[in-house]
Every structure is written in C-alpha cells, then in structure tokens.
C-alpha cells in the first residue's frame, strides 16, 4: 500500500510540472487559437537567460526581474513581427509560423548564451522526506506548491481584472471583441508575456532538476498528451491533465514496467492520449466543437 501511495503521490507531484508547461500553451491557444509550438523554446530561452544572469553575478530577484522584462519585450516583438502580420490567416499558417519561431528563439538562445549545460541551484534540497509512512520528494513538493500558486494567481488575474474579462471575451468571440473596442494586439502581447513567465517558472523548476540545456525545449512533447487529455482551452483541464499523466505514467512504470522491460514513461502518456481521443476527443474540459447545420 505504501508503495502504491508513494508512486501515486510522486506521480501527481511530478504531474504539476507537466501542468505548468501545459498552462503556457492553453493561455495562448485560448486567446489566439494558435497551438504555440515555440512554447518549449521560449521556456528554454527564459530559463537560460535567468541562469546566465545568475552566473554573471546578479542576485536572484534581480535576475528574475530582468528575465521577466526581457520576456515582456520578446512578447511585444513576437506580436509585432509574427502575429500581427499573420492575423486572420488559417490556424495552420500560424502554427507553421510558431514552428519557425521556435527555431529562431532556440537558435538565438544558444547563439547568445551557448549550448553547454547549466546547473541551477534554487536552494531546495532534493532529499525525500517522510509524510506519515510515505516517502515524498521535497523538491517535488516545492515544485507542486509553486505550480498551484501560479495557477491561482492566473485565475485571480483572469477572473477579477477587466483585462482578464477582455481576454475571456477575445477567447469567446474575437469578432465581437474587436467591435466592442478591445485591443486585440495588446491582449496578444499580454498573453504571450504571461505565457513566457509561466514558461520561465516551469523552466526554472525543470532546469533545477535536470540542468538547463537544449533538451528542456522538448518538454513540448510532454505537454502534448497533457493538452489532449485536459483540453486545449481550459487551465483547469491543463492542471487535471498534468496530474493524470504524472500519476498514470508513474503507476504504469512501477506496476506494468517490470513485465515488459520498463521504459514506459516516455510513451505511456501518448498511449493514454490516444485512448482519450477515442473517448473524449475534446479532452476533459475542452469545448466540443458544435456546429449548426
């Protein structure tokens, strides 16, 4: 029983990190209907910028502030140079643009800051602690708390401010939002900046665990099954999807792994996602596309 609980809790905590990555996608998808393939590169870029500044001797808070400022600036540049000229094009065109963008961002990140692996010490000890009789990773606990706090802040931001109302309006009906006088370009800039900051937090947590390096940008591939399960349009769905993927892959690795030779973690989320596509193609909390005929 303890093994089961440990596996489950460990999986759920790891899952919050997947959720964090997925939230960055959901924000942009909601506001502009674009699957932002560049989210992984932006995550890498953000984490790399932060760790480089830290290595240059900046204090933690200053490095964080400068990185956030750069991300906001980057969001404005991306909106001006990529999104605005392509507004009203098909989702596929925009997706391809973000695919290109991901290479530009990744290339720029490594070109400026180098391709070596950076260690990031957030001062959290990665020593397991006992909670009752269940052994839990302290680092996972901190990461999960951070993810939950960030999700709460986002929920407050988008439910209670008038810019949040504008954002939901854009997500609901873009044409009507424009006619009401909502500044779509500014909403895009805000959303990309916020998604960048979410990416920074996710990148810092992932990076602290496995080092900040090129492979961080591949978390996109981890987020995809989370999004399919949770739905592309719901922050709550991204959280639930992350938890499901985290718990399921951990349980599968422990209980199914020994019979088929292990190494289940990389592909099991996709297996789960395909099952979901059969049963609930829009995901747990996604919107089913209703069309009047």
């Amino acid at each position: 029983m303890n093994l089961f609980l440990e596996t489950l809790i460990g999986g759920l905590l790891a899952g919050t990190m997947y959720s964090l990555v997925a939230i960055g996608f959901v924000l942009i998808y909601k506001a502009s209907g674009v699957f932002n393939f560049a989210q992984g590169s932006i995550l890498l870029f953000a984490a790399l910028t932060f760790v480089t500044l830290l290595e240059k001797g900046l204090p933690f808070v200053a490095a964080l502030a400068v990185t956030i400022a750069i991300l906001i600036l980057g969001a404005i540049v991306i909106e001006r140079t990529v999104l605005r000229p392509l507004a009203n094009r098909s989702p596929m065109t925009l997706f391809m643009a973000t695919l290109g963008l991901s290479y530009v961002v990744e290339g720029a990140a490594q070109g400026i800051m180098g391709a070596q692996v950076h260690a990031l010490d957030l001062g959290i000890e990665d020593v397991p602690i006992f909670l009752g009789d269940v052994l839990i990773s302290q680092f996972d606990l901190v990461a999960a708390t951070t993810a939950v706090a960030l999700a709460l802040i986002l929920a407050l931001l988008f439910n209670n401010t008038r810019i949040g109302i504008s954002l939901r309006a854009v997500a609901d009906d873009t044409r009507a939002a424009l006619s009401v006088g909502i500044n779509l370009n500014r909403i895009w800039q805000i959303v990309w900046a916020v998604a960048g900051i979410v990416g920074l937090v996710a990148g810092m947590l992932w990076g602290a665990r496995q080092g900040i390096q090129f492979s961080l940008s591949l978390v996109v591939l981890k987020a995809l099954p989370v999004l399919i399960i949770g739905g592309f349009t719901s922050i709550g769905g991204a959280i639930a999807g992350g938890l499901i993927v985290g718990a399921a892959e951990n349980l599968a690795e422990t209980y199914v792994g020994p019979y088929i030779g292990g190494g289940i973690t990389p592909w099991f989320p996709y297996f789960l996602a395909i099952a979901f596509l059969y049963i609930r193609p829009a995901g747990l909390f996604g919107e089913r596309a209703l069309e009047r005929v």
């Binding site: 609901d172 006619s179 500044n183």
Partner: protein, 267 residues
C-alpha cells in the same frame, strides 16, 4: 442631458454621419453601389429593404468590418475610406449584430463590462496589484455597467451565463454592451428580429428611450415596417444595394418606387 434636436429642426448643422458614394462588392457581385445619405445628430434613422439589399453590409462598412471599394464615410467631420473596428469603437461607434455576437460563456455583467474597453486607462499591472487609480476606475466603470443594467431592466440576469438566457434577453444584453460605452452613434442590426409582439414593443421602447433620454443617434435595420415607421425620424430604403427612398417616414411610405420594391411585397 439636453433634449437632442430633431432631424427636421436643424437643417444647417452638419450631419453626424455622412455616407458619400460608398460601393462594396464581393467577388464581382455588387452589394452596395454608389450609396449616399446622411444621418443627423440625435435622430433615429432606419435602413429598410428586402433581404440582400445591402443593409447589413453597410453597417459592416460603417464600423470597419468591411472596407468599401469606393466612396467615403464622414463621421463627426472626419473622413474615412477605411476604419478598423477598434478605431470605430474608440471614436464612439457601437453596434449590435444580426445574429447576436455575445460572449456566451461569460455572465451578463461581464459581457456589459467588456463594452467599457474604450474607457479603460489603467494597465494590467496596476489592475492586478489593485493600485488606487485602477481601483477608482474599476469602481466607476462597474457603477456605469450597473446603471445600464438598471436602465435596460437586466438586473435579474446579472450573474447568469449569457448562453443560457432566452434570445430576447440576449438581444437586450447586446444592446447594453453597446450602450455602456456611451457611444455617439449606435448601429443596431435587426434589434427586433425573432421577437414576439410584446418583446418587440419593449425593445422599441428601449430604443426610443436611448435616443430621447441619452441623446444617442441610432441607425437601425428592421423588417417590421409598422414599427420602423412609428419609431424612426428618417428612413432610407435600399434595394439591390441602391438607395430608392430617403426621407421622413410618411414621405417614404407614400413613395411609389418604395412601394413597388419593398412595401408592396409585404402583404
């Protein structure tokens, strides 16, 4: 608020809206050809005409959804060939759509609050941190939204998700969203469509109140000729994208060309 001058009373004042030689076509099909008319400040102007006459297309040109092929629109003395919807909103042109374009998953109050976009000055950060300036602005704007909900008798639906409400109520919420921005010009695309007689009477009373009490100039599209003739100060009749009648309701009603093209077709 002062009582606005009626259409006939101020012939010397420049019109609020002047449409000059506007043409619009879609892939070679003319939707509007060389259309000119003007709307005086403070009047209710009705656009009537059979389906496909170009009425909705014209509204779309006025608030920038479509770009005219030729001609120009003069609004408050400023000339436009092309205007973006957001600029139209900022200059005080608000509108409703033929098939409601509400934010269906949001509450009535939130829908109305979106209409205040052009009056928001504070940024995201000051809103998120609830700085004093942002809070004062927020309080002022919410008060305004509440006042509009009162005015259009929508308080009972304040916290309901819009998508779940009856069609007639949704039409009124869309009107509230347009109205809360204190527009100079209000464009209403079939505000009475799909309503029963009682709802139509209510809605036309609201439109009249908006015009008389708030002094807002209204351009509306409506098929119910009886209501149009009693509600409006000025009627423009379109047929196949061309203007075939323009004047006071009584004059338009007796115009032979109008009768044969439109009124005569309605038995």
């Amino acid at each position: 608020m002062s009582i606005p001058a009626t259409h006939a009373a101020s012939p010397s004042a420049p019109p609020l809206l002047d449409v000059r030689g506007v043409s619009l076509s879609f892939k070679g099909v003319k939707a509007i050809s060389d259309l000119s008319f003007s709307v005086a400040r403070g009047e209710i102007c009705a656009l009537i005409g059979p389906n496909g006459a170009g009425k909705s297309s014209l509204l779309n040109v006025l608030n920038g959804v479509y770009v005219a092929d030729a001609g120009e629109v003069v609004f408050q003395g400023e000339h436009f060939r092309q205007i973006e919807p957001i600029d139209a909103a900022r200059r005080g042109i608000a509108r409703t759509f033929q098939n409601n374009a509400l934010f269906r998953k949001m509450s009535t109050l939130d829908n109305v609050l979106t209409g205040l976009a052009r009056h928001t000055r504070s940024g995201l950060l000051s809103q998120a941190l609830r700085l004093p300036g942002a809070r004062r602005e927020e309080a002022r704007l919410r008060e305004k939204a509440e006042a509009i909900l009162d005015f259009l008798d929508l308080q009972a639906y304040r916290d309901f998700t819009v998508g779940s409400l009856a069609y007639g109520i949704q039409k009124r919420i869309e009107l509230a969203r347009a109205l809360v921005s204190s527009p100079t010009l209000l464009l209403l695309d079939e505000p009475l469509a799909g309503m029963n007689a009682r709802e139509k009477a209510e809605m036309s009373a609201f439109v009249r109140d908006i015009n008389r009490d708030l002094g807002i100039t209204v351009v509306l599209i409506e098929h119910d000729v009886g209501i149009v003739l009693s509600l409006s100060d000025h009627v423009v009749v379109l047929d196949y994208g061309r203007k075939i009648g323009d004047g006071a309701p009584d004059a338009v009603k007796s115009d032979a060309a109008v009768i044969s093209a439109y009124l005569g077709a309605v038995h």
